[in-house]
């Protein structure tokens, strides 16, 4: 029993990574009704930028803030330049665009910073949290930041005009235009915000998985899975989904024999799919009744 509790707790700690990434995924899904496969790469690139700033002597929080701004603007730029022209193209073509973006960013990161693994600092230190051997202060910090982000996003969407406008634009774009909302810019904003959130995820994750161009692939997949599990329309679901993913992953690794690192992901994904078959809209998603 103690092993179980320990693994659950450890799972929550690692799950914070997925929760943070899942928030970015849900953010962009709200804006464009789609999963952006290049999001992990964008987060990775932002993290490298922050690392570079620190190499040039900028202190941690300064680099953090600058990277946040860079990511926000970068996300908007990418949307305006690369995806606005594809707005009228079929969805599958847009997906191909995401894949192309992935390839471009990954390649550039590899060229600029090469593929050797780098250390990345954490502002929270890595001593045991409150004396516990399972959660380090960094992991506690991750959970804290993720929860803060969640609250901030909730506040933004529920209580601000911009948040309301973004929700409207994503929900019924034609009606949003009929109340005067520039839906095209709402999409750009969604991208910017998703990029910013993704950069936070990257900067929190890097101390744990170490900084290298391919660091985000596994994380992104878990993030997607977590977002889908939680229900793609719910930021709360994304966070809960993330923690659950972390727990699943740990329990699967501990209790199912013969499962090495490589099989953990497919099994976790299979579990997600099982949940979806039972609850197609995810745990917290709103089931949508379609009238023909």
């Amino acid at each position: 029993m103690e092993l179980f509790t320990n693994q659950v707790l450890a799972g929550i700690a690692t799950g914070a990574i997925y929760a943070c990434m899942a928030l970015a995924v849900v953010m962009i899904y709200q804006a464009i009704d789609h999963l952006n496969f290049a999001q992990g790469e964008m987060a990775m690139f932002s993290t490298f930028v922050s690392w570079q700033l620190m190499q040039w002597g900028v202190p941690y929080w300064g680099a953090f803030l600058l990277t946040l701004i860079f990511s926000f603007l970068g996300g908007i730029a990418i949307e305006r330049l690369l995806f606005k022209p594809l707005a009228k193209a079929p969805i599958l073509t847009n997906v191909a665009g995401f894949i192309a973006l992935y390839a471009i960013i990954n390649s550039f990161a590899g060229l600029i910073w090469d593929f050797t693994i780098k250390q990345y600092p954490t502002p929270f230190g890595s001593s045991p949290f409150l004396g516990s051997q399972l959660i380090s202060t960094h992991q506690a910090g991750m959970i804290g930041v993720t929860l803060l982000l969640l609250i901030a996003l909730y506040f933004f969407f529920q209580f601000t005009r911009m948040g309301l406008a973004m929700r409207a634009a994503a929900s019924v774009p034609e009606s949003a235009r009929l109340v005067g909302i520039n839906t095209s810019w709402m999409i750009a904003l969604g991208w910017g915000m998703a990029a910013a959130i993704g950069s936070i995820a990257g900067m929190l994750i890097a101390p744990v998985v170490f900084l290298e161009p391919n660091m985000m692939l596994g994380v992104l997949l878990y993030g997607f899975a977590a977002a889908v599990l939680g229900g793609l329309t719910s930021p709360l679901g994304a966070v809960v989904g993330g923690f659950l993913m972390g727990i699943f992953e740990n329990l699967v690794g501990t209790y199912i024999p013969g499962v090495g690192n490589e099989l953990k992901l497919p099994i976790a994904l299979a579990l997600i799919v099982t949940v979806l078959v039972i609850k197609p809209a995810g745990l917290f998603g709103r089931p949508i009744v379609k009238r023909v």
Binding site: T93, G258, P266, I267, L269, V292
Partner: protein
């Protein structure tokens, strides 16, 4: 969590390609056929091998086109079916001493069953959820192939070497050339089968489901049956392609069938034009040759160059090669009128 009503007025995720536009006209088909028959006569063996791979990946993209462009189901998991087909052929040839040609229908049938079975739980999923499920399948496959339990059959991480067949009846052509024509015949047969499938009642059922699943079901179409059938057929064709691939490459190994393959096939479908069967070969050409071109342009930034080239293609022709064909047809029609 109240259910919310939403009128399905938005466009279906996969756009409908009008039936008569789904294939080439007779003239273009004959020209294409002539080109394919004559191509290997003028080039070296290695190029012939590449042409064979062109046909093989073309088949895999075709299979995906039937699934996505035909029945509207997303799949990022075709690499799994390809792998099963490849390994089936390899194991039958190497461990059971079976004639390579016979392994192909077996690979096809096994993959059909596999796809049909996978289609069952996938029935309740659509869009991104189905994409995720098929993605899970694709990531799992290489790991499953590496598992210790199967190592005796699969050769584990190192895989299996497959013997390349000679031309039969002592024909004076190289192994590569024989394999090319063998593949070509199979490709043409499957192509004709697919075209007819989509024109048939089943094909119409697929497309009805693609365009509006609820309406299709209300019209009495057995949605569950046709959706799983589409998965099965698609998997079966991909399995045959996988088998051919194993024979052509002379080698099967788990890391040759990763998610990268599944993504490439997806890109091939988009570049060729979703739902446009003849485009499959254009898509196949893209995924075989463009990465090499990209690497030729810049070794360090090959990924970025590939991405840029892909963007160029989708900016210029968002509907893929089909769009080019339609423009060409339009211009040709105008010229004829003069």
């Amino acid at each position: 969590m109240t259910a919310v009503q939403e009128a399905v007025t938005e466009a279906p995720a996969v756009e409908a390609v009008p039936k008569r536009a789904m294939t080439l006209g007779t003239g273009s088909s004959l020209i294409m056929l002539a080109l394919l028959i004559m191509a290997p006569l003028f080039v070296k063996n290695f190029i012939i091998f590449q042409l064979t791979m062109l046909l093989i990946y073309g088949l895999a993209v075709l299979a995906l086109n039937i699934l996505t462009g035909g029945s509207g189901q997303f799949s990022l998991g075709q690499s799994a079916f390809y792998a099963v087909g490849a390994y089936t052929s390899a194991i039958l040839i190497e461990h059971a001493g079976m004639n390579y040609a016979l392994t192909l229908p077996i690979a096809g049938v096994i993959c059909f069953a596999f796809g049909f079975l996978f289609g069952q739980p996938a029935l309740r999923l659509s869009g991104v959820y189905l994409a995720l499920a098929t993605f899970a399948l694709a990531t799992a496959m290489p790991q499953l192939l590496k598992l210790g339990y199967f190592e005796h059959w699969t050769g584990g991480v190192q895989g299996l070497v497959v013997t390349k067949p000679d031309a039969p009846f002592g024909l004076p052509i190289s192994q590569d050339m024989w394999l090319y024509y063998f593949t070509l015949v199979i490709t043409i047969a499957i192509y004709i089968f697919s075209v007819n499938l989509l024109k048939s009642r089943s094909g119409r059922a697929f497309m009805a489901i693609r365009d509006n699943e609820i309406a299709a079901s209300a019209m009495g179409i057995d949605v569950a049956l046709y959706k799983t059938l589409a998965f099965g057929v698609s998997a079966g064709i991909t399995g045959v392609a996988g088998g051919l691939g194993a024979i052509a490459v002379q080698f099967v190994a788990p890391d040759g069938y990763t998610i990268t393959l599944a993504i490439s096939l997806f890109l091939g479908m988009v570049v060729g034009g979703v739902g446009w069967l003849p485009g499959s070969i254009v898509g196949s050409a893209f995924i075989i040759f463009v990465p090499n071109i990209a690497e030729g342009i810049s070794k360090g930034l090959s990924g970025a160059v590939f991405g840029v080239l892909l963007f160029l293609v989708i900016f210029l022709v968002p509907h893929g090669a089909r769009q080019v064909a339609m423009v060409a047809q339009h211009l040709f029609g105008k010229l004829k009128k003069r």
